[in-house]
């Protein structure tokens, strides 16, 4: 919303400065985005007088002028045809910035003659497009003496040129502030002036209106409750007067013709959009009807719109003439040939206008206002005021008013509870002040019931009264008031166990050397499909780019894409991770938290110690086990290979408790790497945080530490087994050989590959176990050790189908 200071003063009697007004507007909730003060850029220019003008010795079109300035007589070379002795001019001196030229003047030599500045045209000062000559000021005008500031002259003689312009942001709840009068009313309520009365006088009709109007019965219910209009015959529609053009230009509108400019003026002045039809181009009755569908209308923006069934449209006997409340039609529009004009003032239902405007993708001042809500009570007064202005500016004679429908009753009232206002706002606002504020805003009281004015459709409850009182009282005066905790003493933990676990996982993974990423929750459809997603339910209807079309089913694709981008920048070795949501469906709650790590390239940079080696599955496994341990996952788990398709089928595993998969680790499937553009080795892990059971009994007490005085005995065993046998099978078998005595079993060697097969036979390998025996009450005898050893060999052989390596 834009308006100028002088426009505001049409409605507000005020002596407040531009800064005071701007500050109050922002404080009231009408946030000032910009104040353009044209005087600022014209500040340096002064008034001077040409004493003498002679032809330049070396140029026919240039004149060498002697100019009287506030700094004495100067020589100025000028190319303007009207540069001549005796005229009063506007002077720019060296060092001044000339806005229309976008240059700062220096002392220049023009064809050998030094020039101490320039005399400006209107265009050079951005006053208008006039550039046929330099500005000539009337000699007898006020403030035109040599040395006067040009802005002072303008203020006296052309105030519109130095009229400060305000640009304010209007929140959707304040349609009334989309008219200058609404803004003035807010300022008056704040005490920045007095709202001038708006006098509406009825213009009597001289004849019956020849244009009949009719609203479709259904639309009268919802769409167009009331439609009014009248014919004004014998108008002369030329350019509008200078003051009106200046108003519109100042707020960025283009003057078109008096009739159109009048409608625009009412739109911005009183938030009362109107429409003018050239009555000669309207045939028969004007009807407001729902479109059949398929009708076409060439609108005033020069575009043709095809209507969908039900969209509200104004038609005559020929067909659609106007997109009701949104934009007029080109064919029935007014131009300089218009003699009889039909002036429309209607109240359109906000929801209907919003739906049609959105569907047709038209933005217009009318739609913007009607969908937020104009004052329904002002439909007819607005028509009267506009009629008077048309008559004043274009002449002619007005008909009687035709109306169909009735102004909807929006009357309502809410209780003002002054104590509740004080309690909610936390500011002592006296009751009288609360009432005064609301009355200043147009509310009327019956007892403690406040009825909002018809221009405030947003006021829908007691809370709205509180807001009005608070914002006028000024929230910037609020003083903070301490809010102690609800309980005293040491507060308990506020995070849930799941929240704690997520944070622990994050910091553990980072401590293992991974850099945390936050990647988008949406990825492209192909990547989503590769990771088990990409379904229709997880598709975004209106994605912002083709790379963000589906909710991610897994965190790995985002990290792989990040890895590919980093590789393209020359970073080959990466350790990236993310802890965040993955989506398993399109319903609220179809969301799980994953912690995913990705290692790409080598484990370390080249160094003298040979630390550099490609990452492998056991790096991922070590890291995932460290994270699981840190978040309290059970120590005893199984490893299975019921893998998702994006893992290497032979070099990956699930860490599971029965069917419950806690985590997966391993090499990323080479095909996935190729599709995602990741080069080199890549291993990863994914932890499904919600799948990890919490310990059953939560107690900080640890079990007692059981220490044994007797030395433990360690025995090594090597087994020859089939190459496909998993070490865990052997370890578990060994552990089961004597649960009391065997404290730990670890794998200390795995001998595989061609050399192993050479020694142990095709398809064989060797696994070596270290078994730790912990005697508890007496030292083991050799015989006892032998017996346990034999049991271990027996159990492992049975479980693996292998034998002790000889």
């Amino acid at each position: 919303m834009r308006f100028t200071l002088s426009w505001l003063k049409d409605h507000l009697e005020t002596s407040a400065t531009v800064d005071e007004i701007a500050e109050a507007l922002t404080d009231l909730g009408l946030e000032v985005e910009e104040v353009v003060n044209p005087a600022a850029k014209l500040a340096p220019f002064t008034i001077a007088k040409v004493l003498k003008a002679e032809k330049h010795p070396d140029a026919d079109k240039l004149r060498v002028c002697q100019v009287l300035t506030d700094e004495g007589e100067k020589t100025i070379v000028c190319g303007a045809p009207n540069a001549r002795a005796g005229i009063t001019v506007v002077l720019a001196k060296p060092g001044d910035y000339v806005p229309g030229l976008d240059v700062t003047l220096g002392i220049g030599k023009i064809r050998g003659v030094e020039s101490a500045g320039m005399m400006c045209s209107e265009r050079e000062l951005e006053l208008s497009d006039e550039h046929n000559g330099i500005i000539e000021l009337p000699e007898d005008s006020l403030n035109s003496e040599v040395g006067c500031k040009f802005t002072d002259w303008l203020a006296e003689n052309r105030p519109a040129a130095v009229d400060p312009m305000f640009h304010i942001k209007i929140t959707p709840n304040r349609p009334d502030a989309l008219g200058v009068r609404g803004v003035a009313r807010d300022l008056a309520a704040r005490g920045l002036g007095v709202l001038k009365p708006l006098v509406v006088e009825t213009v009597p009709g001289g004849f019956a209106c020849p244009v009949a109007v009719e609203i479709d019965a259904g639309l009268k219910e919802k769409g167009c409750p009331v439609f009014a209009g009248r014919l004004i015959r014998g108008v002369k529609n030329g350019p509008s007067p200078a003051w009106l053009q200046a108003r519109l230009i100042a707020i960025g509108l283009r003057p078109i013709s008096t009739l159109v400019d009048v409608t625009n003026f009412f739109t911005y002045d009183l938030n009362r959009p109107l429409h003018v039809f050239d009555a000669a181009k309207v045939q028969g009755k004007v009807r407001i009807v729902p479109a059949q569908g398929g009708e076409e209308l060439l609108a005033l923006d020069g575009k043709t719109y095809t209507l969908a069934p039900g969209q509200m449209v104004i038609v005559d006997d020929k067909g659609p003439e106007s997109l009701a409340g949104i934009m007029g039609g080109e064919l029935s529009g007014c131009d300089e040939t218009t003699v009889d004009v039909f002036l429309e003032s209607a109240y359109w239902d906000p929801i209907t206008i919003a739906a049609t405007g959105r569907a047709l993708k038209i933005t217009s001042d009318a739609r913007y206002r009607f969908e937020r809500g104009v004052d329904p009570e002002f439909t007819l007064p607005g028509l009267e005021l506009a009629t008077q202005m048309v008559l004043d500016l274009c002449g002619g004679e007005a008909s009687e008013v035709v109306v169909d429908g009735a102004v909807p009753d929006t009357s309502r009232a809410y209780r003002l509870d002054p104590a509740r206002v004080i309690s909610l706002v936390g500011m002592e606002i006296p009751e009288a002040e609360q009432r005064r504020t609301l009355e200043a805003l147009g509310f009327t009281f019956a007892g403690d019931m406040a009825a909002p004015p018809s221009w405030r459709p947003d006021v829908q409850g007691e809370a709205d009264l509180v807001e009005e009182v608070a914002r006028v009282a000024s929230l910037s005066k609020l003083v903070g008031k301490p809010m102690p905790r609800e309980t005293t003493g040491v507060p308990g933990p506020i995070l849930t166990p799941a929240q704690v676990r997520e944070k622990t996982a994050r910091r553990t993974i980072a401590a293992l050397g991974y850099n945390e990423c936050v990647t988008y929750s949406f990825i492209d459809g192909a990547a989503a499909a590769m990771f088990g997603g990409g379904s229709e339910a997880m598709r975004i209807e209106n994605p912002i780019s083709s790379e963000m079309t589906h909710m991610r089913p897994d965190l790995l694709p985002g990290l792989l894409a990040a890895a590919a981008r980093n590789q393209a920048r020359g970073f080959a070795d990466l350790a990236l991770f993310e802890v965040g949501p993955a989506f398993i469906g399109g319903e609220p709650g179809d969301q799980v938290t994953q912690a995913t790590g990705l290692l790409v390239g080598a484990r370390a940079a080249r160094d003298p110690w040979g630390s550099r080696r490609p990452v492998d599955v056991y790096d991922a496994k070590a890291d995932v086990e460290a994270v699981l341990a840190a978040i309290g996952a059970p120590a005893r788990v199984q490893i299975n290979r019921k893998l998702d398709a994006w893992w290497h089928p032979g070099r990956s595993g699930n860490i599971a408790l029965g069917p419950n998969v806690l985590a997966t680790f391993g090499e990323v499937h080479p095909r996935v790497l190729r599709e995602m553009g990741v080069k080199g080795a890549a291993v990863a892990f994914t932890i499904r945080l919600a799948n990890i059971p919490f310990p059953k009994a939560k107690t900080p007490t640890r079990p007692a530490l059981a220490l044994h005085d007797l030395h433990a005995v360690e025995r090594d065993f090597a087994f020859v087994v089939d190459a496909s046998v998993e070490a865990m099978t052997a370890v578990n078998a060994a552990l089961g050989a004597d649960k009391a005595l065997i404290e730990a079993v670890s794998v200390f060697d795995a001998f595989t590959g061609p050399k192993a097969e050479e020694q142990m036979g095709a398809g064989k390998k060797s696994i070596a176990l270290a078994v730790r025996l912990q005697p508890k009450d007496k030292t083991l005898t050799d015989a006892e050790i032998e017996a346990v050893s034999a049991k271990i060999v027996d159990k492992v052989a049975k479980a693996t189908g292998g034998s002790l390596r000889k």
């Binding site: 506020i494 209106n542 912002i544």
Partner: protein, 360 residues
């Protein structure tokens, strides 16, 4: 000089001269060994008179321990010399790098969420969460934004695809963390104090906008919680978060459908030399939107607005992270450029706490 003196001179001299342990051993055997000179002299004691034996014996014992001590001293000296020689040869280039120890980083969004959590936890706020694919009702209707409300258009909402056979309005990617207000009220009732940090989504992309970003919602409901309490809470938060002794906030009337009265909150700052300083200067920086909860929103959460009242606010986490840590471009948060992650990331063990401070 008698024979013993001669022996003494001979051996002590020899020991002093000895160049290695072998020479020392030879001298020891020659003097103190079974057939060594001193041992032989000891044996001769038996043939002496008692008187003679006494004097000679004593002298011999003195001599024996003198030689023994000299031998030990020399042996230690030789060992020291050998060690010195070895150490001299054992020089390593200690400027070579140590074995690699990987160092990871925490993303600024996570770090700032932890900072925000630490501060609000201290003020008695719990942490609530909610789904990011959200129903139309929770994201809009329950927050007093009915279907045709113009505010709906201003959210640039992402919609999920909707099966034409499904009559429900399409789900949305939550455009703000405010739906968690409703879910938290439903779950816990009043009184309640929660914050809800998390991802939110809007169709917008430029230097200061990304289609995904992070917000933290705050909500406090009680019998007499006022906007003045809101201001104090935010002042305390800003002081703690920006780690400055004083802040000045300005509440500016505004409009949000879910609060009434509503206020945009600006913080006093200076941009001198291109560097942001909170708490001083003549500029104001908008940092969040807030207000008193709309009675309809309380009712939507199952709380009687005639009995309870409260405030709510919503703040951009990425935005306050950018302000606090001087990070220029929002989109870079989500690009995972390793250089960016390392430069703006935080050490894993730098967990922000109220007792230890938020940042180093």
């Amino acid at each position: 000089m008698n024979a013993l003196d001669e022996l003494k001179a001979k051996y002590l001299g020899g020991i002093a001269q000895a160049g290695d342990e072998a020479a020392l051993e030879e001298l020891r055997l020659a003097a103190l060994g079974k057939k060594g000179e001193i041992s032989l002299k000891m044996r001769e004691l038996g043939q002496m008179s008692a008187e003679e034996r006494q004097t000679t014996g004593a002298a011999l014992n003195v001599l024996k321990s003198e030689i023994d001590a000299a031998l030990r001293a020399k042996k230690a000296a030789l060992a020291d010399a050998a060690l010195d020689a070895r150490l001299a040869a054992e020089w390593l280039d200690v400027t070579l790098p140590g074995r690699p120890r990987p160092a990871g980083t925490i993303h600024p969004v996570s770090q700032v969420m932890d900072e925000v959590t630490a501060i609000f936890a201290d003020m008695g706020f719990d942490v609530a969460e909610g789904p990011q694919i959200e129903s139309d009702w929770y994201n809009f209707d329950a927050l007093n934004i009915p279907p045709e409300h113009p505010a709906r258009q201003e959210f640039d909402t992402f919609f999920m695809a909707r099966d034409p056979a499904d009559p429900r309005p399409p789900h949305v990617l939550r455009t703000h963390t405010s739906p968690v207000q409703i879910r938290a009220m439903e779950a816990k009732g009043a009184p309640i104090r929660v914050i809800a940090p998390g991802r939110v989504y809007r169709m917008d992309m430029d230097q200061t906008h990304a289609p995904m970003f992070h917000q933290v919602e705050g909500m406090a409901i009680g019998r007499d919680i006022s906007m003045a309490n809101l201001k104090w809470t935010l002042e305390e938060f800003c002081k703690a978060f920006f780690e400055v002794p004083n802040v000045e906030l300005r509440f500016r009337a505004s409009h949000f459908p879910f609060t009434e009265p509503s206020a945009e909150v600006d913080i006093r700052c200076s941009w001198e030399g291109g560097q942001l300083k909170i708490g001083e200067g003549d500029s104001w920086l908008e940092i969040l939107g807030s207000g008193m909860m709309q009675p309809k929103v309380l009712a939507a959460g199952g709380i009687d607005p005639n009995e309870w009242q409260g405030f709510a606010f919503g703040m951009g986490i990425d935005r306050i992270a950018m302000l606090k840590y001087g990070i220029p471009d929002l989109r870079a948060f989500f690009e995972s450029d390793l250089r960016w992650l390392k430069h703006y990331g935080f050490a894993p063990l730098d967990l922000p706490t109220v007792f230890g401070g938020l940042s180093k």
